[in-house]
Amino acid sequence: MRVQSNLLRTIVLGAAGTVLVGGLSTSALAVDYPSKPIEMIVAFGAGGSTDTMARIFAKYAEKELGERIVVVNRPGAGGEIGWVHLANAEPDGYTLGLINSPVVEVYPFTREETVGYSLDEIRPLANVITDPGVLAVAADSPYQTLDDFVGAVKDDPESVVISHEGLGGDDHLAALNFAEEAGIDLSFVAYNGNAEATASLLGGHITAFEGNMSEAASQIQEGKVRGLAVWSDERVEPIADVPTGKEQGYDVQAAASRGFAVPAGVPQEVYDMLLAVTREVVEDPEFRAEMDQLNMPINAIYGQDYVDFINDSHDRLKSLWEKDPWIEQ
């Protein structure tokens, strides 16, 4: 833990009414925060979907905070490098970052030997996006439902090849979850990202692909790809024709979630203020419209609820991992 001496200097209690931000009167404390630009760490490359969301969010949050937000990309090791930077940053409120569930909570046990951060060093702030998993086949595939698909795997496990977009990532975990639920063994082919996997599916080189709704939606809408199932509780809007796994008797819930977090140890006042700002942005209809356009479904989970969300997911996945690790050790 770092000593928070800097903090006392940074956070100067001012007179009430010097709050820079409109609509934040709930903040009991009028603090001289922020007084300089805030760094927002994105653990993935510029131009990717996490980065796009971060930059749009920053545009709205800057207005609320009255300070500049500098988006800094620290990509690498599937997000780990960025999260190490986030965990080690000064907890003064001038560094926040995006975290991607479920990957952020699995590295501490799947990479136990080498991982550079622990979940105790990161305090989740608010979830913004939950992008459900989708299992899809090419439009000319003989499989119409999950039952067809499961039947084919049971008849001849070698005839079905399914892609995931990164080992131990949310797609891989979703497919594993489904395989367990259906009592089948899937043979996986690893791809790096959505583009190559989609090309392989459309070209007929693989049988099925497991990806995220936001990436698959346009291909499904155009009828080139058929969604067999979406792994959410209810059907999702841009692809409302695609039934959920649950409807078809396979109770699988899987998604990639994106939200914000700060280094642990940020003073409660600052945390509350950032939370309030995040809430303002996420509830802003204009922000929601922009997310809609990108097929990114909003799923607002604030404060302690988000902390619990990450912790629950961590515990559930860890017990799965201990039963049957999905990465060779």
């Binding site: 980065d51 690498g76 799947t110 090849v161 082919v189 790096n192 007929g204 060779e328």
Partner: protein
């Protein structure tokens, strides 16, 4: 085609032309600086486009994209510091030309080659994008595997006068390519627990180290030296290539443009494969292959037409299928969707006017960078007269900044400096650096696609020969390998 006219109107509007010019200049600068890749250039522009109308936004992104690929050739030729892997092959012949005082000619040829390749691929994009996009889908893991082997075969051409040393550095490159998290099992290979190495040895820091940083050392070490060799310190060459040289390179430009466009269509194949294959093909078809690598204008033309033809090629699957052809166009997709344009066939129906505005702006950007390039190349050549003691430190500074900017990691800077030292000694002991970089680029493509092929075919090695497309590529590999041997054998027979 009736949308072409309103689209033309969009491009020629005053604001659009201004955006086009600014985008082209920005792209050329970004391409010329080491480490600032086309991907980063386009990504940096995306926030700027948030508040622009979609037409202007696309004009800006398109102009930055095509001109940044061209911009890399300038420093590759004059200083042997290719900004990205796309222009390594350009440096192979461009730099010897610059050393001989013929930098102006090389730059002119690079400009014309880029223009030819760029225009060719845009015309292909306008004329036959939808049918060609099926090529992207026909390529499965098996085909990518053989394509990667084809790329590795080009090492023979690149290191023709020192084949053994070339193979050796390529082997080192393949070993480096094995570093990182195994994509299929998650096993850490030679990462030493360094999370910066989980994604493998990052390409650009190695590239900047081997070419730019080592060149900076090179220029600093012999006191008073510069790019120009010899005592006369004179720019012997003309400021533009002779028409005769351009004419004999036209066939190469056409062949390279076809190769570049096709490779561009393939998602994940990469610009450098296109330029190396084209370079090797140009050498193979040349009546004087021995001049390649020592300052052959045709080599510059081959590499540059190919890498600029890739730009139009990558947009074909991006626009028609919504599958980005490379990292730059993946960022492009982000830029399109922010403006409500979802890539796919609807771009050519519902949003045809905007889409053709983008395509036409690529056409104009190509012409614009060519005009700017031909105009400034006579002045840029002066850089080769700057003393090494001044030029070296400047290259070093830009290399360090560029490397850090890649992913804001100090680790990468140390890597670049380390490879700079390695590259300096490789140069002195005459070990070619390009094979190492080719192997580092192609190693992961080869490995991943070979393993995918094996998973899909359930370990049936004949899968590479039973698919028509894959078999054709295999034959091309055999041809590329056997042809030089055959010509050698025939020459010997004739001598007897």
């Amino acid at each position: 085609m009736d949308v072409l006219l309103p689209a033309l109107g969009n491009v020629l509007a005053p604001m659009a032309l201004l955006t086009l010019i600014l985008g082209t200049l920005a792209g050329m600068t970004i391409g010329a600086l080491p480490g600032l890749s086309s991907t980063m250039g386009v990504a940096l522009c995306i926030p700027i486009t948030f508040n622009m109308p979609p037409e202007l936004a696309l004009i800006l992104l398109g102009a930055v994209y095509v001109s940044s690929v061209y911009g890399g050739s300038v420093t590759a030729i004059l200083l042997r510091t290719p900004g990205t892997d796309a222009s390594i092959a350009t440096a192979l012949d461009g730099y010897p030309l610059a050393e001989a005082g013929r930098g102006g000619e090389a730059l002119g040829m690079a400009t014309l080659g880029s223009l030819f390749g760029g225009l060719f691929s845009v015309i292909v994009l306008i004329a036959i994008a939808p049918p060609l996009s099926t090529v992207a889908l026909a390529f499965g893991p098996q085909e990518y595997t053989v394509l990667a082997i084809f790329g590795l075969v080009t090492i023979v051409g690149v290191a023709s006068d020192r084949p053994l040393k070339g193979v050796l550095t390529a082997a080192v490159g393949l070993v480096l390519a094995a570093v990182g998290l195994d994509a299929f099992t998650g096993v850490q290979r030679f990462t030493f627990g360094q999370s910066e190495l989980f994604d493998g040895v990052p390409l650009l820091p190695v590239l900047i180290g081997l070419f730019s940083v080592s060149q900076a050392f090179n220029l600093c070490v012999p006191a008073g030296g510069g790019v120009l060799t010899g005592n006369e310190q004179k720019l012997k060459g003309r400021s533009l290539p002779l028409w005769h040289d351009v004419r004999r390179s036209l066939r190469t430009m056409l062949r390279s443009s076809v190769i570049g466009s096709v490779v561009g269509i393939l998602p994940g194949a990469g610009t450098s494969i296109a330029s190396f294959i084209s370079y090797n093909e140009a050498r193979r078809h040349s009546p004087t292959p021995e001049r390649f690598g020592k300052g052959e204008l045709e080599g510059v033309a081959a590499s540059e037409s190919a890498n600029n033809a890739v730009t139009g090629g990558t947009l074909i699957p991006t626009l028609t299928l919504g599958i980005p052809g490379n990292a730059v166009t993946a960022v492009f997709v982000g830029g399109l969707t922010i403006h409500g344009l979802i890539p796919g066939p609807s771009l050519f129906t519902d949003h045809a006017e905007t889409t053709y505005t983008l395509i036409l702006s690529l056409l104009f950007a190509n012409v614009l960078f060519a005009i700017l390039g031909l105009w400034v190349c006579r002045y840029l050549v002066v850089v080769t007269k700057v003393p090494g003691a001044v030029l070296g430190p400047m290259i070093l500074v830009f290399s360090v900044i560029g490397t850090y900017a890649l992913r804001n990691a100090v680790f990468d800077v140390w890597l670049a400096i380390g490879f700079g030292v390695v590259g300096y000694f490789m140069e002195r002991w005459r070990y070619p650096a390009a094979p190492l970089v080719i192997a580092l680029i192609l190693g992961p493509i080869l490995e991943v696609n070979f393993r995918r092929s094996m998973q899909i075919s359930h370990w049936d090695l004949t899968t590479f020969f039973t698919r028509p497309l894959s078999l054709t590529l295999c034959l091309l590999v055999v041809l590329a390998l056997a042809y030089p041997l055959w010509t050698q054998w025939r020459r010997r027979k004739l001598q007897r």
